[in-house]
């Protein structure tokens, strides 16, 4: 059990995961040697497409699934073989899993009731937690009378009220519509910063992961591809998979790498680059100029498509043998028309080399 700190709040716990393996059958490997360290008080996101093993990893942390090999410890305590009801870990499930036979008040108080907390104290804490999660006017309703967003808040309150060492969230926002989702992303992030609790969040949405996380791990086929801050993962992806998954469009195989230049489908870039298999040009860091302008690391191209998106315009341009995407912010400049000859200015910060 974690020790309470001087101000009454509980200290956040770290998680360490060592060489975790899990296979559901000989053909279906969910986790293939996962090592991760989550810092105390961190908002940590497991990001990946469906079937990458992220939910399995979350379920193993909760104790709902047993690993084939490997271990998990929370706050330095090894959790091998500890059943879920004896772990100080709570989960917000994707479908919320609110008890249909209990009203909102009794749903939120369930965990405390199971821990034999006095009824009077449960009432007080339910009230306080309901105010934090803004469900205090719904306490007497039944789950079927709640909207999706309300259910989500109740599920969150039901988990948070137990003050667990770690809160696990399994795609809790994926069932909500876009507007509400954005709002709850901000609220959830604020709440985590305020409580200082360790959150492990699972999502397949890279935007959501970047908005909310301190750090994130990208998973693919049961393996951790990369761990880092959203900025590092987005700007310096280590593998082709991470780069594609983070939404990058301009990824090209390096055909030739000389001492001070790189050759790819789009042409030649001068400079001393790290060794790697692929080169990434970030679409929003490239800039377009009208006409053909010679200069350092400038590529001539022709506009094929122009997609106006309000805040920005996305151009699909043909450059050498390659198609590139360039996104330019609409700051009042004239748009380029399709068919127009343009020059792409490749700034050094737009380039990343993928080692893997």
């Amino acid at each position: 059990m974690p020790q309470p700190t001087a101000n009454g709040a509980r200290q956040a716990s770290s998680i360490s995961i060592r060489s975790l393996h899990k296979a559901f059958s000989s053909k279906m490997t969910a986790l293939d040697g996962v090592d991760l360290d989550v810092q105390p008080g961190e908002f940590f996101t497991l990001l990946g497409p469906s079937g990458c093993g992220k939910t399995t990893l979350l379920r193993i942390i909760a104790g709902l699934e047993q690993p084939d090999r490997g271990s998990i410890s929370i706050g330095g305590r090894l959790l091998d073989g500890v059943p879920p009801h004896q772990r100080s870990v709570n989960t917000v499930f994707q479908s919320y899993a609110l008890f249909p036979n209990r009203n909102v008040r009794d749903n939120i108080g369930f965990g405390l009731q199971m821990q034999r907390v006095k009824r009077q104290i449960i009432q007080q804490r339910v009230q306080a937690m309901a105010e934090i999660t803004k469900v205090d006017d719904l306490l007497d309703r039944n789950p079927e009378q709640l909207s999706g967003g309300q259910k989500q808040r109740v599920a969150l309150a039901r988990a948070l009220i137990n003050e667990p060492d770690v809160l696990l969230l399994d795609e809790p926002l994926s069932a909500l519509d876009a507007g509400l989702r954005g709002q709850l992303q901000v609220e959830l992030q604020r709440l985590q910063r305020r409580l200082g609790m360790t959150f492990v969040f699972v999502t397949h949405d890279q935007q959501e992961a970047m908005v909310m996380s301190h750090r994130m791990a990208v998973l693919h086929e049961g393996q951790v591809q990369q761990v880092g801050t959203p900025q590092v993962i987005y700007e310096q992806p280590k593998t082709l998979f991470v780069a594609r998954f983070m939404g990058h469009q301009n990824i090209f195989a390096i055909q030739q790498r000389n001492e001070d230049e790189i050759v790819a489908d789009f042409g030649v870039l001068k400079g001393r680059f790290a060794a790697g298999s692929h080169i990434l040009l970030r679409e929003e860091a490239l800039s377009l100029k009208a006409g053909v302008v010679e200069g350092h690391n400038r590529l001539t191209a022709r506009v094929e498509e122009c997609l106006y998106r309000g805040g920005s315009t996305e151009y699909r341009v043909l450059c050498g043998n390659a198609r590139l995407t360039v996104r330019s912010h609409n700051l009042g400049q004239a748009l380029f028309a399709s068919g127009q000859d343009v020059t792409i200015d490749v700034a050094p910060e737009a380039v990343a080399i993928l080692p893997g």
């Binding site: 369930f110 199971m114 039944n142």
Partner: protein, 263 residues
């Protein structure tokens, strides 16, 4: 269309009305109505054999239903819990007794009990063998109701319980039983109804001292329909009617209440 409706209602309720009417018949004969009288109800209350049969029916119904609910619920839960094991053949085996003709079932039970009694000295025909026989045909119904209730639950609810510090025993007490309560009550009532109603299986498994109401009525009617039997039938009709009305009112009130909360 309307005519059809009246005809249906007539066929359904006219015989019941006749039975009730003749239970108040002052005359002894079912052929004519000779004025209002409560004498058959009076006779009823002093007929020890009939009262004993009624008591036997109640004992049989309540105890067999209670046992069947416990075991049937366990079976239903097991079928749900291990649904990934491809137990369709087992499920089929469990449901077979539901469609089995009562006569076949009754004869089988009787043969079994008699054989057991002869060889091992257990299962002497009587109320206990009847309870066993009733439990065995009630269990599939209970299992069916419980299983279908579990199937509509979110499977994550079980995990949510465990995640929220509920030990297996607490999961049973604070989640499974409360959530299954309506299904358990419904299956108890269904099992009870089946038991009270059953004649065929009871007849084959009964002993000399364990006459139930249906068996008593059957033997009474063999000697000719007496207004006394009519009085019993009328009382049962009244009981069922009151129970049905209570259920209707309860549902109406509950529906109104949940509706008013929502808006």
């Amino acid at each position: 269309m309307r005519l059809f409706w009246y005809a249906t209602m007539l066929f359904l309720y006219a015989p019941l009305a006749v039975v009730v009417l003749f239970s108040f018949n002052a005359a002894n004969s079912p052929a004519r109505f000779a004025g209002f009288s409560l004498r058959w109800y009076d006779r009823l209350m002093t007929n020890d054999a009939l009262l004993l049969a009624f008591k036997n029916s109640l004992i049989l119904g309540v105890s067999s239903s209670l046992i069947a609910v416990v075991f049937g619920a366990m079976l239903g839960y097991g079928m749900y819990r291990f649904r990934h094991w491809h137990l369709h053949w087992l499920v089929w085996l469990i449901y077979l007794p539901i469609v089995m003709p009562d006569v076949v079932y009754g004869i089988s039970e009787m043969t079994f009990f008699v054989a057991m009694h002869r060889n091992f000295g257990i299962f002497e025909p009587g109320l206990s063998t009847m309870i066993l026989a009733h439990v065995s045909f009630q269990i599939p119904f209970v299992a069916l109701l419980v299983h279908s209730r579990l199937l509509v639950l979110d499977p994550l609810l079980f995990e949510a319980c465990a995640d929220l510090y509920a030990s297996p025993l607490k999961r049973l007490r604070y989640f499974l039983i409360p959530v299954l309560w309506p299904a358990l009550l419904a299956s108890f009532l269904l099992a009870f109804t089946l038991s009270i109603d059953d004649f065929v299986i009871s007849f084959f498994t009964a002993g000399p001292s364990s006459t139930t109401l249906p068996i008593y009525i059957w033997s009474a009617v063999r000697k000719g329909i007496t207004p006394e039997v009519n009085a019993v039938a009328a009382l049962i009709i009244a009981a069922v009617g009151i129970a049905g009305l209570a259920a209707l009112v309860y549902h109406h009130v509950k529906f109104r209440f949940s509706h008013s909360v929502k808006t």
